[in-house]
Structures are given as C-alpha cells and as structure tokens.
C-alpha cells in the first residue's frame, strides 16, 4: 500500500471505482462544499476538489478538501502548476497531508487567459509530469525536489494525473501517458469522453503498452444538461471532441436533462466493458446533484466498502 487512501484500497480490491467532482465557490463560505459532499458521499467513492478551475479564483482545493473530510468523505485534491512554484507546491502538499488529504491529482492548469485574472503572471516552475515525479520522490525516496532528505513524516500520497485522449497529436498521447506513469502516477483520470470510438482506439494503445496494468485508468464523463453545452464544448473548448451525433441526439430529445442522464448511463455501461478501464470520473459541472441518479441508474449503487 502506497498511501492507504480509500481510493487506493478500492482499486486494490478490484472495484470499479466511481468518483465525482466538487467545484469550490467564488466566495469565502464552505456550506455549498459541505452540502455537495453530503449529497455525493454515499454515491461516489471520492471527489475531486478543483484548483481554481478555468483560472477563476475560488476557495482553494486544499481548504475545500478539509471541509470534505469533515463530512467523512474522500477528497482528491487537484494541484496545478500554474499558480505556485516548487516551494509553494511542496509546502501546500505537506500541509494538505497533515490535514488528512491522501489523494492528489497533478495538472498543468488552464491558462490564466481563460479566467477572471487574465493579466496575471503564470508560474510553471514545474510541469505536471515533473510534479508527479516530485510527489513520488517525496513519498518513495523521502526527498524534497532539491534532493534534501525528509527526515520523518514524509507525505505518502496516492498520486493521480490526467490524460487527454482527445488532444493532439493523437499518436503521441499514449506515449506521454507512459511518461506520466513512469514518473509515478498511480491513477489517471481522462478528459471527458464524448467520442467513444477515439477513446477505444486510445485504450487499445494503452493496452498494447501494458499501461493499464501499471496505473488505474479512470474514464472521465460529463453528463449533458442541454445540446447547447455540447455545442459550446465542440466549438470552443480546446482538447475536447464532441461528435455531431451527440449534439443531434440532445437536440432532438424532448427532456434534455433526462437524455443527458440516459447518455451518461449508457457511456458508463459501455466503459465497464472496456478492458483496462478501472472506473469512471463523473464531472457534473454545476449539476452535482445529478450524480446520485446517474450512479443508481448505472447499477453502481450501493458503493463497495473497504474489506478489512
């Protein structure tokens, strides 16, 4: 056992893991985080706390995770390399571990030009792969980035990273995933899947390289509320592929939300059949309350317990 986190234990038990996502608010009150934590905790095994996603200032992911822990739920802290240098990142991660956080997801972070502070400076002292390696070295080599020994109480995180099967160059995507896994990633969450054919082609390459045996691959999903959201992502979100069939299907549906749930449930059932997919990560942006319905309809409720 690397970290002893609930997430790690469930993967080790061979469970099909389900995780969700909680977006922290743009103010200094945590009620909404706690409310979402209470709502999700029986239906998913863990939840990501996003780190100022789309570069918009929000409650920090680590503070949010502490609220999630207080609700006896399992947090996955997102850590981007956009806003902090190696001193800030290591310090924050020591702090997070001291507060009971055991899962970290390493990301580059959306460019600040997308957010509400587009004139800010970005840091990028490290990149996401280097952050994965730094976390692994802290845990397994008991060393800070500078090489100095962590004499006691090293942070023992379960290390996550992301992969985007829909970014380009497609041929290089799996090679880069291999780099991340070699750097120390224990689990991988993918970008939201709408183009299932491309995802399957990507998974074929993952299996060819045996990467699904080295790290747990969790497929990312985003339930759609409307065809407009799908169209927007198709057009404006870089690194996302939304096939026309999905937009048409959503457009035709009378009850868009019900169709979105239906589609997501179908995707989960499909993903469960793909060799090497160890779970699903449901990103219901501004629609967290739909996650329990999706999990139930997909036959994934109740969630498994940790076997002692």
């Amino acid at each position: 056992m690397k970290s002893g986190s609930k997430l790690e234990k469930l993967f080790n038990q061979g469970e099909f893991v389900v995780s969700g996502e909680i977006g922290p608010p743009k103010h200094a009150d945590a009620d909404i985080i706690r409310e979402h934590a209470r709502m999700l905790k029986d239906y998913v095994d863990a939840a990501n706390l996003t780190d100022n996603q789309t570069a918009i200032v929000r409650v920090s992911s680590i503070a949010s995770a502490v609220h999630v822990l207080a609700e006896e739920f399992e947090p996955i802290v997102q850590m981007t390399v956009r806003d902090r240098n190696r001193i800030g990142i290591q310090s924050d991660l020591l702090g997070a571990y001291s507060l009971g956080v055991k899962n970290v997801l390493c990301l580059s972070g959306d460019h600040q030009s997308f957010g509400n502070h587009p004139t800010s400076k970005n840091v990028h002292d490290l990149d996401s792969i280097q952050l994965v390696k730094a976390l692994k070295d802290m845990r397994d080599e008991k060393k800070f980035i500078c090489g100095e020994e962590i004499k006691e109480h090293e942070p023992r995180f379960f290390i996550g990273a992301v992969a985007n099967p829909f970014g380009d160059p497609f041929e290089y995507r799996v090679m880069r995933l291999e780099k991340k896994i070699n750097a120390g990633a224990d689990f991988i969450q993918t970008q939201c899947i709408f183009d299932m054919d491309r995802f399957e082609r990507w998974m074929e390459q993952v299996r060819e390289r045996g990467l699904h045996k080295k790290a747990k691959i969790v497929a990312g999903l985003m339930p759609l509320k409307s065809h407009k959201a799908a169209k927007y992502m198709q057009k404006f979100v870089s690194g996302m592929v939304v096939p026309d069939e999905i937009i048409e299907r959503m457009e035709k549906a009378e009850d868009k939300k019900a169709e979105g749930v239906e589609l997501c449930v179908e995707q989960i059932k499909h993903l469960q059949q793909i060799e090497g997919v160890a779970g699903v990560h449901i990103m219901a942006v501004n629609w967290e309350e739909i996650i329990p319905t999706i999990v139930e309809k997909a036959g994934l409720y109740p969630r498994p317990q940790i076997k002692e």
């Binding site: 390399v81 580059s108 959306d110 280097q130 980035i145 829909f166 160059p169 290089y172 090679m175 690194g239």
Partner: protein
C-alpha cells in the same frame, strides 16, 4: 534580435508634457531592423510630437539623432555634445537596454518611446515572432530546435498539455502548439524516442530568477 514596438504617440507625448526641448535618439541596432526605433522612426516620432504640441499651443523643439547602438558605451560618446543644458528630456527609441544605458550615462530625464517585446526574428515582411526565452541554459538540442520555454504558453518541458488541438494552442487558434511542432520535427528526424525521456525540473536560477545576470569574458577584458 530584440523586437520592440512603438508606444502610442499620445502616450509618449504625455511622458514629456513638461518639456520644451527634447532629444529624440534612435538606435541603429535591432530596433532599426524591426522598424521601431531607427533613423526613419526618429523622424516620424519627432514631427508627430511637434505637431501635437503645436495644436496644443505649446510648441516643442526637437533634436533628432540616431547612434549605432545605445547598448554600447563606445557609441554613447556621440550623444554627449547633443545633451546640452536646454534639453529637458531625452526620448530614447531603443529597447529597454538602450534607455537604461542613456539614463545611466547622462543626468537627464530619459523616457522610453518603445515597448520592448521579445527576442525573436522576422517571420515575413512586417511580422516578427518570439523565439528565445533567454533562460540562460539552452535546451534546443533536446527539442528539435523548437523552444518550449517561450513558445509553449505554459513553458511545459514534457508537453503537450491537454489543450493542444489541430496543432494549435488552447489560448488562441492563431498560436501554434510548440509541442505539436516539436513532435512533428522529432518524428521527421526519427527521434521520437527522445521525447519519452522525462525532462527533469529546470534550473531557473540561470534565468532571471537568479537575479540580474552578467556575462564576463575575461580574455577580452582590458583591466
């Protein structure tokens, strides 16, 4: 070369609003090549400033001069006889280096007429692109001659990030993804395997993060 761009004339006019007589100094180096601060641009700026002030009924006297390089003390001497007591301000049309060298040398109010942009080159006539991040430790031999530090919007050394699509960067469909360019080039050269190596965390102390830098070449030093 250092690529710069002229500030809006009104902005420069504001910087010298209290002056009656100014010296407008061009530079014969990079900014002449990138058509921002050479002899021709000195003439254009000086006459524009005079016209603006004439309209305001506060006439401005200008002296125009372009020296070979403002970043070299050797050429700075040529300036000496033009920096007379009646000069209220010096408008430097050099990059930020030239502005500082003039300010360091003469006891005058010196203002910049350009915004210094980057180290780059001409992409086509009238278009310049950024190429070097001046990081102090070149890694171009690892990336097929394409710099991820300055050409990737996130300076990713093990790229590309998830925002690369159709060869373009997530920030703008007009911006090439540096890592797509690197991948294509390494692929053409049959060196994709090199991209599987994890590039370690960079030593930024060799860049500006180590404080202001200096290069010393002892063999050519006179004293």
């Amino acid at each position: 070369m250092i690529v710069a761009e002229g500030k809006p004339i009104a902005e420069v006019a504001k910087l010298i609003e209290d002056a009656n007589k100014v010296l407008v100094v061009g530079c014969g180096g990079c900014v002449t090549v990138c058509l921002a601060g050479g002899e021709k641009e000195v003439g254009v700026l000086a006459s524009a400033l005079r016209m603006l002030r004439k309209k305001e009924d506060k006439p401005l006297e200008t002296v125009e001069l372009t020296i070979s390089r403002q970043c070299d003390p050797e050429y700075m001497e040529q300036l000496e006889k033009y920096i007379t007591d009646d000069i209220d301000a010096v408008v430097s049309m050099a990059c930020g280096v030239g502005v500082q060298f003039v300010a360091e040398r003469f006891n005058k109010w010196v203002v910049p007429a350009l915004d210094t942009k980057f180290a780059g080159g001409a992409l086509e006539h009238g278009v310049w692109g950024e190429r070097c991040g001046l990081c102090g430790e070149c890694i171009l031999y690892k990336t097929g001659g394409i710099c991820p530090i300055i050409r990737c919007s996130k300076s990713i050394l093990n790229g590309p990030c998830g925002g690369s699509q159709d060869g373009k960067c997530e920030i703008d469909t007009e911006v090439d993804c540096a890592w797509q360019l690197i991948y294509d080039r390494m692929n053409t050269l049959g060196k994709i395997d090199k991209l599987l190596e994890i590039e370690p965390i960079k030593d930024w102390s060799k860049s500006r993060d180590g404080g202001p830098r200096k290069v010393v070449k002892e063999d050519v030093m006179i004293k």
